[in-house]
Amino acid sequence: MEEMKVRLEAVYKAINRLKKLDQTSEIKEEISRFQDVAEKLEIQISSQLEAWDKVQLARMIERPRARFYIDKICDEFIELHGDRFYADDQAIIGGVGSIEGKVVTIIAQSRGMTAKENMQMNFGMPHPEGYHKALRLMKQAEKFQRPVICLIDTPGAYCGIGAEERGQGAAIARNLFEMSTIKVPIISGVIGEGGSGGALALSIADKIFMQENAVYSILSPEGFASILWKDSGRAKEAANKMKLTAQDLLKYGIIDDVLLEPLGGAQKSPDATADSVKQYLIAQLDTLATINIEKLVQMRYERFRKIGMCL
């Protein structure tokens, strides 16, 4: 693996050197040969990514985040703020927009692409008021009969004094409870990290997707290793045991679809990635619109009811 990465880097260097030369037909041919080699290496590397590598990709600062997708996917988007009780949680973006003319409510956990943004958004870790805002906007979507799209990207709900005082557990629980019966289609997708109850609180949906290098788990690998082995340093080992990749969760039927990313990860070609998310959402919105809503809500119930139905 490491060896392949070194080779890939050498190939890219060679391509760059060649590009600086006079572009004769031989040189161009040489470049294209190297590019073929690079692509083959990229494919090999991506097919051998371990769960822990994906955790790293999901956390990469360059990875496109919710705000980018909303801007790219929507023809129009109006952000709506606040939970009407306490505050506007910057870790969750909410609003109404349209995708190719289809009006939807979008609720997205928001992480920054710079250190400063990340501070402002609390690294995508919502407080109770974030979940209250999300629920308010989902109820609004139900009133106006428009589907809800949730983008999941959080290490987990925030752990702090204020979060506890204002009922972090109750806020998450209320979302699980209410989302299970909301009478509009809901699509949720993990675009980065899907960490614990804080991610689940926006994931009670009719269609659940994950991007190829996203992860979704009961707790961060660090937290998991810390609880089970009293050693958060064993996070890599934990990640590889936890079955947290999109491919694992698809196999278990926890999610419905995996959206491919460009070779090397979404950050390599953000526009193309956004387009794949957009096309997926359009197709799913069309499909879900054909299903009777009572039936859809019953199917949503059964989807979760059957997980761990013991014999």
Binding site: I172, A173, F177, S196, G197, K243, L244, G308
Partner: protein
């Protein structure tokens, strides 16, 4: 002096390597809070409450059941469900066996139908002595079935919570039990039925973030620690000491998170009264 030595020895034996402070064996026990010694038969009389400082010992699910429901009224449900090991986690099956042996329960929750002062209820009682009351697939399934039975029979539901949260060894499958139980409660709720949740020490993590906090009426035992994140995790995150009493029942009450704090000796009559006040009027 001789007696003191005896107390000490018993204490050392019963608590060694075991942070869960269930009523230990032995004639005398030492209270983990005030450190005074308690004559064991006395502890039974006080329902597991330290006579000196009112510390609440955790109760086994069966022990608590006996304090709440009418004698001989309990019909247990799903005592035969078996946990699986979906992540093939090393040592997990052995661990489960050990706890089954220790608690004589199939899992960390006891469920069934019973009466309280003659009023029918479905009752679920979590047992922190079984892998810290953690919720894996069987706990989630037993609770979901209990809720669905209450919905079907159109009767109230009472859940006593005591849990360290979702069970790590079952990974994402444990997490999904939060969704499953909450959705089942939504159906019970939609039928106009009463759900009382009783929070006992400790209730944290995935259980707090699902059925524990969804009661129409939420009660708590005095001093019970209830939170989403455990105190240790919060201290690590914010890098400061937490104030005295943080996340205790009295704190939750002050912050508006629960309806009432009910002493152990008054729990049965309080539940009976709430049930009485929610009895369906006869349809004429």
């Amino acid at each position: 002096m001789k007696l003191k030595g005896l107390i000490k020895r018993k204490y050392a034996v019963t608590t060694k390597g075991n942070k869960k402070r269930e009523v230990p064996e032995g004639i005398y026990v030492q209270c983990p809070k005030c450190k005074k010694s308690i004559y064991r038969p006395e502890l039974k009389k006080t329902l597991g409450i330290c006579p000196h400082c009112q510390y609440y010992y955790p109760l086994s699910a069966r022990g608590r059941l006996g304090m709440i429901v009418d004698k001989n009224s309990f019909e247990e449900m799903d005592s035969d469900l078996k946990s699986s090991n979906p992540l093939e986690f090393e040592g997990y099956e052995e661990k489960l066996e050990k706890y089954k042996e220790k608690t004589k329960q199939n899992e960390a929750v006891l469920t069934g139908k019973a009466t309280i002062e003659g009023q029918e209820v479905i009752i679920a009682i979590m047992d922190s002595g079984f892998m810290m009351g953690s919720m894996g697939q069987v706990v989630g399934e037993k609770i979901a079935r209990a809720i669905e039975r209450a919905t079907l029979d159109k009767i109230p539901l009472i859940i006593f919570t005591a849990s360290g949260g979702a069970r790590m060894q079952e990974g994402i499958f444990s997490l999904m039990q939060m969704a499953k139980t909450s959705a089942a409660l939504a159906k019970h709720d939609a039928n106009g039925l009463l759900y009382i949740s009783v929070l006992t020490d400790p209730t944290t993590g995935g259980v707090t973030a699902s059925f524990a906090t969804l009661g129409d009426i939420i009660l708590a035992e005095p001093g019970a620690l209830v939170g989403f994140a455990g105190p240790r995790v919060i201290e690590q995150t914010i890098k400061q000491k937490l104030p005295e009493g943080f996340q205790r029942a009295e704190f939750l009450m002050e912050k508006g998170q629960i309806d009432a704090i009910v002493k152990r000796e008054e729990m049965r009559q309080t539940l009976a009264a709430i049930l009485r006040l929610h009895q369906k009027k006869e349809v004429r």
